[in-house]
Amino acid sequence: MYMSNSRVIEIWVGLFVAMGLAALFLLAMQVSNLSEFRESDKGYRLLAKFQNVGTLKVRAPVKIAGVLVGRVADIRLDQEHYQAIVELRIDPSYRLPDDTIASIYTSGLLGEQYIALEPGGSPDYLKDGDEIEISQSALVLEELIGKFLVKSAEKSGSDEK
């Protein structure tokens, strides 16, 4: 089929623009966190109170046995008890018993902090907006070192006697 020169050029330019836009679209969907935003509105909310959340950030992973089941949706301060309230968004395909324990762990030695859930054996399940009763705060390195120093000082003190 005969095609005029300008028609070929127009097709090429159309292909170019389509390819460029597709690359930008794929960058947004495949490379960036936009792939998660689509899912972030889904799921049910759970609340957990912590004495200290350490360096936990919004959108940090929530895991059970190392499997990603949700994300941290919000972190705010309870003005009454000065505790951190962490709002979790859990994938609706996972159901959690109401005696689940929430802990803040660190992935790797220097990695990001995440929330680990340990489900208990209760027959009742947590619903949207429920609070996780039992929680374990983040380990703060300075507190650990402080405790260690106090202990070792006591030890050396008792040794001298």
Binding site: F16, M19, G20, A23, Q30, S32
Partner: protein, 259 residues
């Protein structure tokens, strides 16, 4: 002494005069933007010359840059046992810096120099003054389509470069060196933010597109209409573009990722 001062003053004034001409030229071109609507085929034609013909260069360069990033990143990260972060490293460096900057540099060498030479030669062979004689405004017919073709092509080319580059890093990292595929992508998705990284990358490439095309078109339009003048203008176009891109990249990075 006085001669030196005289020369210095002359150079400074000439530089400012040129800067002023460049801005007036840009304003003139922007004011004639709406002329593009009835002359849409001219824009398509220029996008073919400026954009489509650059695809192969941009794609191949992106592939190799990504592959080198994958290889070098793996060597450094494996020392710390953090190979899984390779995806983050490749994607962050490509999206934030290398994609827009390297594309802009290649673009100024591939398309910008050609624009300068073409317009300079049009001026040297008195085609531009010929158009003026026929009461045809060369800014509307020659400059505006080229300016917009460059500005529109740059973000698309930078997007292609970045995307292909990430796959280059993926082939080397996951395919050859055995980095885990899941953590390659998931860590990347967890770190690269859509607004913070991808949108800023597009803004960067758009700004670089404006800068590179503006310099290229202006240098051609402002060239001394001789063979030597056009050759000098072409050189200046590439050199100034490189300086302007790298300099403005620092400013943009400080504004976007500074805090």
């Amino acid at each position: 002494m006085l001669k030196g001062l005289h020369r210095l003053g002359q150079l400074t004034l000439a530089a400012f005069a040129k800067l002023g001409r460049a801005h007036l030229f840009l304003l003139q071109a922007l004011a004639a933007s709406w002329e593009l609507v009835p002359r849409f085929p001219l824009l398509i034609r220029q996008m073919y010359v400026v954009g489509v013909l650059s695809i192969l260069l941009i794609a191949l360069s992106g592939l190799f840059v990504g592959m080198v990033l994958g290889l070098q990143g793996y060597n450094v990260l494996s020392d710390f046992g953090a190979e899984e972060s390779l995806g983050v490293m490749v994607a962050a460096s490509l999206v934030r810096e290398l994609g827009p900057v390297v594309t802009a540099l290649l673009f100024s060498g591939r398309a910008g120099s050609a624009l300068t030479a073409e317009i300079g030669l049009m001026k040297a062979t008195e085609q531009l003054s010929g158009m003026e004689m026929m009461a045809v405004d060369p800014v509307r017919y020659v400059i505006v389509p080229r300016l917009y073709a460059g500005i529109l092509s740059m973000p698309l080319l930078a997007g292609l470069f970045t995307y292909i580059g990430i796959y280059g890093g993926y082939f080397v990292g996951v395919g050859l060196l055995g980095v885990d595929e899941g953590s390659f992508w998931s860590q990347m998705q967890a770190t690269i933010d859509f607004r913070e990284d991808i949108l800023n990358s597009v803004i960067k490439s758009l700004v670089f597109g404006i800068i590179v095309t503006w310099i290229a078109v202006f240098e051609g339009y402002d060239a001394v209409p001789t063979a030597e003048g056009v050759s000098r203008a072409t050189t200046r176009s590439v050199v100034y573009s490189a300086f302007a891109v790298l300099g403005s990249d620092f400013i943009l990075t400080a504004l976007m990722f500074g805090d």
